[in-house]
Symmetry: none
Subunit: 415 residues, 2 copies
């Protein structure tokens, strides 16, 4: 069962925007046991859209169309699809009412161009958009389902997974059973992870292991495919277990887990409290932790002590120590972690200080020098790093290491 | 002059790898004044490649093919292209010798499957690969040039820019000038921006305006194309000026500008200092500001006062006020901004307090209630918002509004 994907948008054919929807959709289809015959990207142009639809309907058993459903004049997908399939457009009163209600709830004045988003080809079913204004729709041509969804990635992903996949499941036969697990690692490069795996042990028919670097993490996606569902699941379990045996030190989570989510869960489960003193990470650690619902239970405070004065005033780091060792030093990192822990009265204190660049480096402490410290139960530990990335990546990897230090402290103690 | 792009690889149609080549190639073509008729992605499959070639040669004036030129059995692009164009394959002795020399230089044992990379369709010209083993090739069909290059991104980019672009320049006579400007807005939805523009004034031949929502911003990309370079630039200037006249209140930057970058530049230029007290944004405001190199010049400190105690201790907000009005209130937001400004001794204090959810809402203060305050020169201002997004988006829009309040304060004073 092969599916075609048509992606529509001038921002894509001009290279202005990197399309990520088609890759997401292809992976989802693949993981459901279907294949992709072709992905075509065209601009917001009626003839180009029609050409793409005709070609893909010729070679595929089903079609996913994404992009061009917005309210502005350049959004012509609905009209182009209707015209290609010789269908008239109608206004759906229920959707129109919902749209107007949404606008008034969000206190956004209603403008008439938005009514376009309530228009659909005759006979089309509507695909709900729980995260935006533009609904999608689906129809069938010669027994082949066609689903049309918006191009905004967060909307496209949600609507594809929740709206289109169940529809395709109803309409098109399953080829294979597919079971999948994502193993998330941090602390080793892709090639070293690859080398650490003994691939012979992992060769089980129908099981594939893909490497996906997601800076600063490496994700391993294990996919097991087969006709028998029990066997497929069992093969997945066996391979994942073997990978865990070989990489356990670097695995921090699975599937939808995040480093901050896993760390937050550990803190919550143990009833421990945390305070954070950040210099070079500039608030990124607490930003990540506060992305986790319920983080107020364990996060007492964070301080972004960018100036020396603030390190003295908010953390009690003696000015003489900063003068002697420099603000970017092991001594100051440890005093920051201890200071925030003590002043906030929390179980754990975490700190970062470093030179994110591009300026500010010296011979002894070049750009990319970062100290990360953790203080708990009367003990403190500090590690020094030298990163060769840009400013943003130095912040990202530093926040990741800080969270990982905390996670490992909570699971196995200081290491 | 429109060009087709054919991208080949099973790793792409399975969604295992995100294709970035076609976006790069499209942007390069666009910036050279050509357009892209369609991008098609197919797997390493002879029929699918042939279908793609046929379709694109039908609709495009030239073709770029990328991927599937490696040494392994699944790399079949050269053979598939030759067969689609009814050409035989031959081995190029010069390329073969170069390949063998390269292997011996890198101490890699020569294996016979590598000889495949010295085979080309009869009559094809060779495109050098300065960064890898697989050369590309080009040929012409009915006066339309076809260029074939590898899929490894670093090789594809280098060979496209250095090998294919000069070739197209020779072969494709007509070239347009292109001038482009991105206008970045915040504070109005896409449809209201669209409505605020008087489109009649903006209709100048060769000038196109595209809308690109980048939550929480709306970007307008204005492109001007034409044969005369001076006229092209002038048309761009005129349209941008008219858009500015209509949207000036919502425009915060251009091209590579970011909200945090623009705000940071204003602070730096005016020699003003800032401190930030964040509750619901959890450090995101200082995280964004510290992404800007040199932010230590104006950012004295940030505090993430997640607990009530920390609001009392770090900001001097009286516990009685928190008890009376709640931590999420106008009173507390203002005292937070004033407190951080005073204690840090900065020119400006900025604060946020709110309920990011999903829990913690009440009838009077539902999830999504956020107060944002700014304090400077003895005056304070506070605004109340109600957002209906998820936790992360509430943080993002709150940080954006806080930075925008600051930006507007620095340009026109409190509004």
């Amino acid at each position: 069962m092969n599916i075609g994907i048509l992606v529509i948008g001038n921002e894509l054919t001009s290279g202005m925007t990197q399309d990520t929807n088609s890759s997401f959709i292809a992976r989802e289809l693949y993981e459901h046991g279907w294949g992709v015959s072709a992905v075509m990207t065209v601009g917001d142009d009626r003839d180009a859209i029609r050409g793409g639809l005709d070609y893909l309907m010729e070679i595929a058993d089903a079609l996913v169309v994404t992009g061009g459903l917005g309210p502005t004049v350049d959004d012509i997908t609905t009209a182009a699809v209707a015209s290609a399939f010789d269908l008239n457009l109608y206004t759906d009163d229920v959707v129109l009412k919902q749209l107007k209600r949404r606008f008034s709830r969000l206190n956004i004045p209603w403008t008439e161009n938005n009514a376009k988003q309530a228009m659909f080809p005759e006979g089309a079913g509507i695909i709900d958009n729980p995260v935006g204004t533009a609904c999608g729709f689906f129809l069938e041509r010669g027994g082949r389902p066609v689903a049309v969804i918006p191009g905004v990635p967060v909307e496209a992903r949600k609507m594809f997974s929740d709206g289109v996949i169940p529809l395709f499941r109803d309409k098109i036969a399953y080829r294979e059973h597919v079971a999948k697990r994502t193993i998330k690692t941090f602390g080793r490069t892709e090639s070293r992870i690859d080398q650490a795996l003994s691939h012979e042990d992992l060769k089980i028919p129908g099981v594939n292991i893909g490497f996906y670097p997601r800076f600063p993490e490496i994700h391993l996606v294990v996919t097991s495919r087969g006709e028998d569902s029990r066997r497929t699941e069992e093969n997945l379990r066996v391979v994942c277990e073997r990978i865990e045996g070989q990489l356990y030190r670097y695995i921090f989570g699975y599937d939808d887990d995040t480093m901050e989510g896993v760390t937050a869960a550990l803190l919550t489960d143990r009833g421990l409290t945390l305070s954070v003193a950040e210099s070079c990470t500039g608030g990124l650690i607490t930003d990540r932790l506060t992305d986790v619902p319920g983080s107020s239970v364990f996060l007492e405070r964070g301080v972004v002590t960018y100036s020396n004065t603030s390190k003295v005033e908010l953390l009690g780091v003696p000015a003489s120590i900063i003068e002697k060792h420099g603000a970017v030093s092991e001594e100051v990192a440890i005093l920051m972690a201890e200071g925030v822990q003590k002043l906030a009265g929390t179980d754990i204190g975490l700190s970062t200080t470093g030179i994110a660049g591009p300026a500010g480096g010296t011979e002894k402490k070049p750009v990319g020098t970062v100290f990360i410290a953790l203080s708990a139960g009367g003990n403190s530990t500090c590690r020094r790093f030298l990163f060769r990335w840009d400013r943003r990546r130095i912040k990202e990897i530093s926040s990741q290491i800080a969270l990982n230090m905390l996670r490992r402290f909570l699971t196995i103690g200081v290491d």
